[in-house]
């Protein structure tokens, strides 16, 4: 597949996934019917595109603009590492797992500069919270993703999917998917870990953002959630493998399952304190992820 083809494919996938996520999130938030929820993303986007621009007194103009753009680019590049339809259809990057891991760690940079940009105290605290979060879960996140490479003997996501032809890794590595979902929610600052955008900071990193800036940021974050779900299903739920249906359809179905699961958790679990989170990341998630690595390794021998 050409680079242009992959670009179109990723754009379609991320936009569609983002739409589903916004609708699901709106349904979970407690008010409103299904009909309004289905129209919500379009109406909301229309309003944000109409909203006049705002700024602050002395922002770091470039950093503030680069935040959403970088977040979007990282979400997109992470999605490229995942094969959608089958083993041969593009996306076979030898070190795809490393590419994905690097992109997800740089998310911290995007959020940090977006919080720093407006020169306002509430967004700035939000950015620093993101730093505390990613530095705490970055290692367990990388570890559980890496563990799936052990039985596959390759860092290519396509090979990891192929290695699941007899049994999905969600069963072989029972600790993997739960840890992955928790850390992925933190990296997408979603759900109980939306500390950088918390209500206790009046929106945190987005407290000063309006109009197109808010729209691109929200879209990029939703796309990031899609990318994380996409990788989650590829390395734990067997990706495009499945009976009857074509491969790409299996990918989409499994991605949506994880996406809706994350959306549900986001609105039903209370936001974690940042200090509790740092403790949780290092003292609970990191040892569990290491157990996952060694037990899975032992089983793979």
């Amino acid at each position: 597949m050409t680079a242009f083809g992959i670009l179109v494919q990723v754009t379609a996938l991320l936009s569609g996934g983002a739409y589903v996520l916004v609708v699901a999130d709106r349904l979970m938030s407690g008010t409103g019917s299904v009909r309004t929820a289905l129209a919500y993303p379009v109406r909301r986007l229309s309003f944000l595109l109409l909203q006049p621009a705002t700024t602050t007194e002395r922002p770091d103009f470039e950093a503030w603009i680069l935040g959403p753009a970088l977040l979007m680019a990282l979400a997109a590049v992470g999605a490229v590492a995942v094969p959608i339809a089958g083993p041969s259809a593009g996306g076979d990057i030898d070190a795809g797992l490393v590419l994905f891991g690097a992109a997800m760690l740089i998310v911290l940079v995007a959020v940090f500069i977006f919080g720093w940009g407006p020169n306002s105290v509430l967004p700035m605290i939000g950015g620093y919270r993101m730093a505390a979060m990613v530095l705490s879960v970055g290692i367990p996140f990388s570890l559980v993703v890496l563990t799936t490479a052990i039985p596959a003997e390759s860092l290519s996501v396509g090979m990891i999917v192929e290695a699941q032809s007899s049994l999905w890794f969600v069963i072989v590595q029972p600790l993997g998917l739960p840890i992955y979902l928790v850390t992925a929610a933190a990296i997408a600052f979603w759900g109980p870990f939306d500390l950088p955008e918390g209500a206790d900071l009046a929106g945190g990193v987005v407290a000063e953002a309006s109009g197109l800036r808010l729209a691109t940021w929200r879209f990029a974050r939703a796309a990031l959630m899609v990318t994380l779900s996409l990788m989650g299903q590829a390395v734990f739920l067997g990706g495009y493998l499945g009976p009857v249906l074509p491969g790409w359809l299996w990918t989409i179905v499994k991605t949506l399952v994880l996406l809706v699961l994350l959306a549900l958790a986001g609105r039903t679990i209370a936001r974690m304190r940042v200090q509790t989170f740092v403790w949780f990341g290092w003292v609970v998630l990191l040892p569990l992820a290491l157990v996952d690595v060694f037990v899975s390794g032992w089983l793979a021998l």
């Binding site: 070190a95 891991g101 690097a102 740089i106 911290l108 530095l135």
Partner: protein, 188 residues
């Protein structure tokens, strides 16, 4: 495989990008920008490695540097006065010394680069990552394990020096000189 014109173009472009962003590190007033220009420089070097068919090394460099440079940004903002460069300032000091050091190290590195005989051993057919892993578990095992001990020393050292409070209470209490007033034992 033989490098095509695209590879030459990309390597040159990323190389120039790395140098320019490295130069920009010292041309900005903002600590945040300085740290992230350095990251851009490292990412460009990583991209060069990727173009040169060392995909894993290039990506792992980018992965490492993304985390490290944010920590660097955080620490630079923490310690530098006027971290956002709201007051104009210069990042360059001691011009004469730094010019001499810069030119000197450029000459030495260029000399090494031109004169040294680099081994002409292409990676054996197959995956470079696999070769790296075998090296790690074979000949370089001692190096690898010593790295573990070194990292442990780094962790304990960093925490012992930097942490404000530990299980024995406030670090500053312990580091204070004992009171002269021996009879009451009061520390003021």
């Amino acid at each position: 495989m033989n490098p095509g014109p695209l590879s030459y173009f990309l390597v040159s472009a990323f190389g120039i990008g790395a140098v320019v962003s490295g130069w920009l590190v010292f041309r900005t007033d903002s600590m945040l920008r300085a740290a992230y220009w350095l990251m851009v420089s490292f990412v460009a070097v990583g991209a060069m490695l990727i173009v040169l068919d060392a995909q894993f090394l290039g990506l792992i460099l980018i992965l490492m540097m993304s985390g490290e440079m944010t920590i660097m940004a955080i620490f630079m903002i923490l310690f530098m006065m006027n971290p956002a460069g709201l007051n104009p300032m210069t990042m360059v000091h001691q011009h004469r010394t730094s010019i001499i050091a810069g030119v000197g190290s450029f000459i030495v590195l260029a000399f090494v680069g031109v004169v040294a005989e680099f081994p002409d051993r292409p990676v054996p057919a197959g995956n470079a990552t696999v070769a790296l892993g075998e090296e790690l578990l074979g000949r370089s095992m001692l190096v690898f394990e010593s790295a573990g001990v070194a990292l442990l020393a780094v962790m304990i050292g960093a925490i012992a020096i930097a942490a404000k409070q530990g299980r024995f209470g406030d670090a500053f209490d312990g580091s204070e000189e004992p009171s002269i007033d021996v009879e009451t034992g009061d520390r003021s």
